[in-house]
């Protein structure tokens, strides 16, 4: 029996060794990932024990505090110290930017720059140590954003007063990539998620997640829509860049209808003829003739079209601002008939409002796409700057020659009385301010509601671009009617003109 006992002792030894190895794993290796788990009540509790850094919109019209931590009076704190509650003074307006910070997880800037806001960044280690030694409370660093309170307010209110359509808009500085406004509708009030009451938080969290209108979704960067005619900026750029189309004054065949190689027909909007079927490219652009650009697309070919789109930043799944941006998609097509449809922004083309803004910004910035960003600077509690963004070029979309050619076409969209956006973004609407833009009215097979998605992408002033805007209104109808006025409001607010 002793032999069996010895073997059993070995079994016991193995069990204890397994336990020891496992707790070493849990407490030694897994500890940090456990600490950052969203449901960790211990960390959740700790986050109320210190003053989390503020988020500040520091662009034109700022600075404006859009998130801060405030000491709560009269709350029975477990340790007797002050406890802090997160507060978003402007609620839903800035929600797509600030995001929220709860035990269930964080989004937006709250998540992306958590290490600064929470003061856990290695660059704050010395500061934290000094605070510890001098007995001062730990404090997070504040994050200053490029967002312009003027532009953001105009953007959110424009979406809000647009009749309840799901919509999103991004405005950025074309010469730096600094994001000036980013609004999404429907939005949510992040203050609802700052409660200390776990049960209440759970209820609100579940409600928001279950809401069919998806208020938590940041449509400006994480939802894609068919670009429709706004894609003609890319198609035109491809035509000029490849030399397949000589320039804006070259004539191009624009029959109504256009019979595609596979026998299907492609029509212009409302089946209208386009300057007798032989327009200059610039004329086809300002009227937004589908058949003309379908022809340009087929001249360039599917792969050429895709490579041009990629140079504008499409199909980039690694873009962060610092939030992850969903890629705008243009598939690689070799079939000529499908290329024709893709080249007018239909078929499987999908775009985010941010990419729409980048398309216009590239044209405005002599063909250079600047990397879009939100972070202006990070300031430690002692006001030293811990980080800041230096603008950088993301891609070269087109040559500056092509950029100015496409830009001249975009100016005609609003300035020519026949231009699709003459009434809503041209002299009748904005007087002497010259906006260069392109409308899009995308057939949205996904929505199925029969209403088209309205798209408008533009920059202004045309002679000295300071702001580029991309707007998409889901089910809004005509791009010129539903989307362009939103962009105009933002531009006017930002430039301070009326």
């Amino acid at each position: 029996m002793n032999r069996a006992l010895f073997r059993l002792s070995l079994a016991c030894l193995v069990m204890f060794v397994l336990l020891l190895v496992n707790i070493n794993y849990v407490q030694g290796f897994e500890a940090s990932s456990l600490a950052s788990k969203p449901g960790n009540a211990r960390t959740f509790d700790q986050q109320f024990q210190y003053q989390r850094g503020s988020i500040i919109a520091d662009g034109t019209g700022g600075p404006l505090t859009i998130a801060n931590s405030q000491p709560v009076k009269g709350d029975s704190s477990s340790s007797g110290n002050a406890i802090y509650q997160r507060h978003y003074p402007h609620g839903a307006m800035y929600a797509p930017i600030t995001g929220y910070d709860t035990v269930y997880g964080a989004t937006g800037i709250e998540s992306a720059y958590n290490k600064y806001l929470a003061g856990t960044s290695p660059s704050l280690a010395v500061h934290n140590l000094i605070s510890l030694l001098t007995g001062k409370a730990k404090q997070g660093a504040s994050v200053n954003l490029t967002v312009s309170p003027k532009a953001q307010k105009a953007a959110y209110q424009a979406l809000l007063s647009d009749g309840g359509h799901q919509a999103a808009v991004v405005a950025l500085n074309p010469s730096t990539g600094a994001i000036l406004a980013m609004a999404s509708y429907p939005s949510y009030n992040p203050n609802l998620l700052t409660t200390f009451d776990g049960a209440k938080l759970n209820k609100i969290d579940k409600q928001l997640l279950a809401d069919p209108s998806q208020p938590l979704l940041n449509r400006a960067i994480n939802q894609t829509y068919p670009p429709g005619s706004s894609f003609k900026i890319i198609t035109g750029s491809a035509g000029f860049s490849t030399g397949k189309v000589a320039g804006p004054q070259a004539t191009i065949a624009a029959p109504q209808p256009l019979t595609l190689p596979n026998g299907n027909t492609l029509n212009n909007d409302a089946d209208e003829t386009c300057f007798g079927g032989h327009p200059q490219v610039i004329q086809a652009f300002l009227l937004s003739c589908n058949t003309a650009f379908a022809n340009i697309g087929m001249k360039v070919g599917g792969p050429g079209l895709q490579s041009q789109a990629n140079k504008f930043g499409w199909n980039d799944s690694n873009l962060t601002i610092p939030m992850q941006v969903s890629p705008s998609v243009i598939p690689r097509i070799t079939d000529q008939s499908l290329t024709a449809i893709s080249s007018i922004g239909q078929l499987d083309d999908q775009v985010t409002p941010l990419q729409e803004a980048l398309d216009a910004a590239a044209i405005a910035n002599h063909g250079k796409v600047m990397r879009p960003y939100l972070l202006q600077s990070v300031q430690a509690p002692d006001l030293t700057t811990l980080a800041s963004t230096t603008p950088s070029v993301l891609t070269q979309a087109v040559s500056s020659q092509v950029a100015s050619e496409v830009g001249s076409m975009m100016v005609q969209v609003t300035q020519n009385p026949d231009g699709t956006a003459y009434q809503t973004a041209g002299p009748p609407a904005v007087g002497s301010l010259v906006i260069a833009g392109k409308t899009g009215t995308a057939e949205n097979t996904v929505s199925g509601a029969g209403l088209d998605d309205a798209v408008f992408t533009c920059y202004a002033p045309a002679s000295n671009p300071q702001i580029a805007v991309g707007v998409i209104v889901k089910g809004g109808g005509f791009g010129a009617d539903a989307a362009a006025p939103i962009a105009v409001k933002i531009i006017e607010a930002y430039l301070g003109v009326h």
Binding site: A11, N22, K37
Partner: protein
């Protein structure tokens, strides 16, 4: 002349008491910077309890292993310290949230249970002078064990269910609860030992050989199948997977000691795994354990309304325990500085995570080593004793401690699926404490028997033959 080493035991007991007193004082300093209330009272009471045990051993089992008692006392004392720490959370102006499942008098009760435990310890040593006398009561104790196991299953839920857990393992009468299965553990261990000693020759008979392993004869499978069936019934009717695994594991281990046949070990393990698998498919509460084990952090599994805490049946408790251990890290937060109150019912099955949080990996490893030593001393007694019944009983009981620690610590640290079972000596509650003290008394009795020197042979210069008695 071999020595009883009782002075060594006393010295180590003093050390154990000192560790416990320091830990207790540490709780007070950690919580509010002051010496804790009750340091003198609890300290004296604990020292007295331990001394009583020591003098009983001097009198009743002078040759017993000198390590077993100090190890048990240290664990019991640390358990009291942690229960006091948890009781004070959010009470008397201390930081933290009050744990509603702990009363203000829980520590006092735990000290009282410790006294009762030591009383049981002394009683076992007093009444059982030789472990093998228990062999006479093999079937009586077997029947008692089964009845103890069955009582909660047949009682109405309101008497037998631990509120909110679905586990029907207790008898609640007027605010006082006992868990009969704890006592059943000892009764069944005696039964297994007695039965296996009687049948081991038959069970060891080989049947056919398959893959190099001697399979037992089919007709000898009866006992293992019955034990398996009982453990499955426990699992199904009392939702008590941990105890079911513990008893079956103890039985299989003892069968292995008795027969030395690896085949029994394999058959037992296979039976248990297949039983658990089928049960997990048939009964949702068993299946849920696997889901929670594999995906504890999935939000649907994690969240449960924290008030009342006792109503958590999801992985909330497991995850909170893991978070606690994570916060503890290598060195722990220090006693009184952690937040173990986030873990529901932390004073019971999850007490090891509270140690992990406040004493860290270091403290937890030390405590596991204490358990390991306890098991090792028990197995050593089993090896040393000559009587097969005592050998089997001591081996089975020592293995049972190891298995119990493995099941619960492995469960709370996500090594294996979590099954509710008490942590020996540490978890709050009298039944477990009483049983474990009685178990240690049995091990000490076995080691006393083993180490007791044989009566001196009668030496006579004129005779060449030495007569050895016993």
């Amino acid at each position: 002349m071999p020595r009883g080493r009782r002075r060594t035991e006393l010295l180590m007991l003093a050390f154990a008491v000192a560790v416990v007193l320091f830990a207790y004082a540490n709780v007070g300093f950690g919580l509010n910077g002051k010496l804790p209330a009750g340091l003198a009272e609890y300290g004296l009471a604990f020292a007295a309890i331990v001394l009583v045990a020591h003098f009983a051993v001097r009198k009743l089992a002078p040759w017993a292993d000198p390590l077993l008692l100090p190890l048990a006392a240290l664990l019991n004392g640390l358990g009291i310290v942690m229960i006091y720490r948890l009781q004070e959370s959010g009470r008397n102006g201390n930081p933290g949230t009050q744990i509603t499942t702990i009363a203000a008098s829980t520590t006092a009760a735990q000290v009282m249970y410790s006294a009762l435990g030591v009383a049981a310890f002394v009683a076992v040593l007093f009444f059982i002078r030789e472990v093998r006398v228990l062999q006479r009561y093999t079937y009586t104790l077997g029947a008692i064990g089964l009845i103890l196991l069955a009582i909660p299953a047949v009682l109405p839920d309101r008497f037998s269910e631990i509120p909110g857990t679905g586990a029907k393992i207790q008898i609640a009468i007027g605010g006082f609860t006992i868990q009969p299965e704890q006592f059943a553990e000892l009764a069944l261990a005696v039964f297994f030992a007695g039965y296996l000693v009687a049948k081991r020759d038959v069970l060891a008979l080989a049947g056919r050989r398959f893959l190099g392993i001697d399979l037992p004869r089919a007709r000898d499978l009866g006992p293992v199948l019955i034990a398996w069936g009982v453990s499955l019934l426990l699992l199904v009717f009392e939702s008590d997977i941990g105890t079911s695994a513990l008893f079956f594991g103890m039985f299989v281990a003892m069968m292995y000691i008795a027969t030395q046949r690896t085949s029994w070990l394999l058959i037992g393990i296979l039976l248990f795994i297949s039983g658990a698998y089928v049960a997990s498919k048939l009964f949702s509460h068993v299946g849920a354990r696997f889901t929670e084990w594999l995906h504890p952090f999935t939000s649907a599994n994690v969240f449960c309304n924290p008030t009342p805490a006792a109503h958590c049946v999801s992985s909330y408790q497991l995850v909170q325990g893991l978070y606690g251990m994570g916060v503890g890290g290598i060195l722990g937060t220090g006693l009184g500085h952690g937040q173990p109150y986030f873990t529901p019912l932390v004073q019971s099955d999850f007490i090891m995570t509270a140690f992990g949080e406040e004493l860290g990996l270091t403290g937890l490893m030390a405590m596991l080593l204490i358990f390991g030593l306890l098991v090792q001393r028990g197995l050593r007694a089993a090896v040393a004793v000559r009587d097969p019944f005592s050998k089997l009983l001591a081996g089975g009981l020592a293995f049972a401690i190891a298995l119990q620690v493995f099941i619960i610590v492995g469960g709370v640290s996500r090594l294996i699926p979590l099954t509710g079972i008490t942590t020996p000596f540490l978890s709050q509650g009298g039944s477990s404490l009483l049983t474990t003290w009685a178990l240690v008394a049995l091990l000490m009795r076995v080691s006393d028997t083993a180490r007791r020197p044989a009566p001196q042979p009668i030496q006579d210069e004129g005779m060449t033959q030495v007569v050895r008695a016993g």
